[in-house]
């Protein structure tokens, strides 16, 4: 046993390729047999991945899902931001820049609206739950943007660690639900063309959520959604602790 575990741990990335390959094969099989291809294999694989991450997290008490189990540590490298972003960039190959230029206004508006709408919604719900000071409202509003904007805002404004943890949890909920739910809401919001994909990426903003959600919906939409989503967190980190916070201070008369 120790010998096997040793080989798998020592060759973590290669083992991750095997694990993911098997997972996708099985998911494609179920996609064909159980859903007759209606639910894409990639959507099933992503969902199974999240479920595995849940049990991995329960088992180890860590924050990196399955990757906290020593033999699956290679998944952390394979699914980490370096290779993920590298692969996202590669999907842009063959994209027509004229198309993106034509949808540029949509993209820019989507990012700005996305940041403010999420922050407003998050802050309003925070207030409804009794967090009525501008610092907590801005932090939880930041969490509604992404799980990075929340803690950055909270740290900058000096929010309590409880509120920061809540903002991270809210951002994670958003990211996970976008990953799993995008194929289901896609028909409702006409997410079937490059322009709506750019709007979607900018409005949702969570890069991991959008990357997973669009992969599960239609891989051809990925470059367009990813392109706008990648500006979101930067904008959120810029706007939420400043403009949005000051607006809250003004509104609450503090």
């Amino acid at each position: 046993m120790d010998v096997i575990a040793g080989v798998l741990e020592g060759n973590g990335l290669v083992f991750a390729f095997l694990v993911v390959g098997v997972l996708i094969l099985v998911s494609n099989y179920f996609s064909r047999k159980l859903t007759r291809g209606r639910l894409q294999g990639s959507a099933i694989a992503i969902t199974v991945g999240l479920v595995l991450a849940y049990f991995g997290g329960l088992h180890t008490g860590g924050e990196r899902g399955l990757a906290d189990i020593a033999i699956f540590a290679g998944l952390g490298l394979m699914g980490g931001s370096m290779l993920r972003d590298f692969a996202i960039v590669s999907t842009a190959y063959g994209v027509d820049l004229a198309v993106i230029k034509k949808a540029g206004v949509t993209g820019v508006l989507a990012v700005l609206l996305g940041v403010f709408v999420s922050a407003i919604v998050g802050a309003a719900i925070a207030a409804a739950f009794g967090y009525t000071d501008p610092v907590s409202m801005a932090t939880i509003g930041g969490g509604a943007a992404t799980y990075i904007v929340g803690p950055v805002t909270g740290t900058a404004l000096g929010a309590s660690s409880e509120v920061i943890a809540l903002s991270v949890a809210a951002g994670l909920v958003k990211s996970v639900v976008v990953m799993v739910g995008t194929p289901f809401i896609a028909p409702l919001i006409r997410l079937d063309n490059y322009k709506s994909a750019m709007a979607y990426g900018g409005l949702m903003g969570t890069t991991s959520g959008v990357a997973g959600g669009l992969a599960a919906t239609d891989k051809r939409l990925v470059p367009y959604g990813a392109m706008t989503a990648t500006f979101f967190t930067g904008m959120g980190v810029l706007l939420v602790p400043s403009v949005f916070y000051f607006a809250l201070v003004f509104l609450t008369g503090g």
Binding site: I24, G41, A45, T47, L50, A53, Y54, R64, G65, L66, G80, L83, R84, D85, F86, A87, I88, V89, S90, A92, Y93, L97, V105, L109, A110, S118, V121, I125, A126, I140, A144, V168, A169, A170, G171, V173, K174, S175, V176, V177, G181, R190, D192, N193, Y194, K195, S196, A199, Y200, L203, M204, G205, S208, A211, G212, A215, R220, P223, T230, G234
Partner: protein
């Protein structure tokens, strides 16, 4: 050569990341602002130039295609390493905030997509082709 394609991709990726990092510094925020987006635009521009100059034989292209085909497997690995426990145990408020942000954002997609005219839906996917590509 395949490595040429991978190297071009890597060069565009790193340049884009640097631009994103500098933009963050310029704006005074501790975040990479659009690095991936800039890298994508660079990749499109650079490969377009290379193709016109006849410097993009199909072996070189395959260096890029490989990573593009690895995209979904990488995303599956990413899903398996998310902090799902924190998302699930975050309590009712975290759940509500996350969901409400999605609903509000999704509701605006059709509105924003209408700016400058509705775009044509993509042609339907050939299921078998995607399967082959993914598996």
């Amino acid at each position: 050569m395949i490595i040429t394609g991978v190297a071009v991709l890597a060069g565009c990726f790193l340049t884009g990341m640097l631009i994103g990092e500098f933009l963050g510094l310029l704006m005074g925020v501790d975040a990479n602002v659009g690095g991936v987006g800039f890298a994508m635009v660079l990749l499109v521009l650079v490969t377009h130039r290379m193709r016109r100059a006849g410097m993009l034989p199909s072996a070189t292209e395959h260096g890029v295609f490989f990573w593009s085909a690895m995209y979904i497997p990488i995303v599956v690995a990413m899903a398996a390493t998310q902090n799902v426990v924190s998302a699930v145990t975050g309590g009712p408020m975290a759940l509500l905030v996350g969901l409400a942000a999605i609903v509000a954002g999704a509701a605006l997609v059709p509105v924003l997509a209408r700016i400058g005219g509705q775009a044509e839906p993509l042609p339907p996917l050939e299921q078998d082709k995607t399967m082959a590509e993914v598996s």
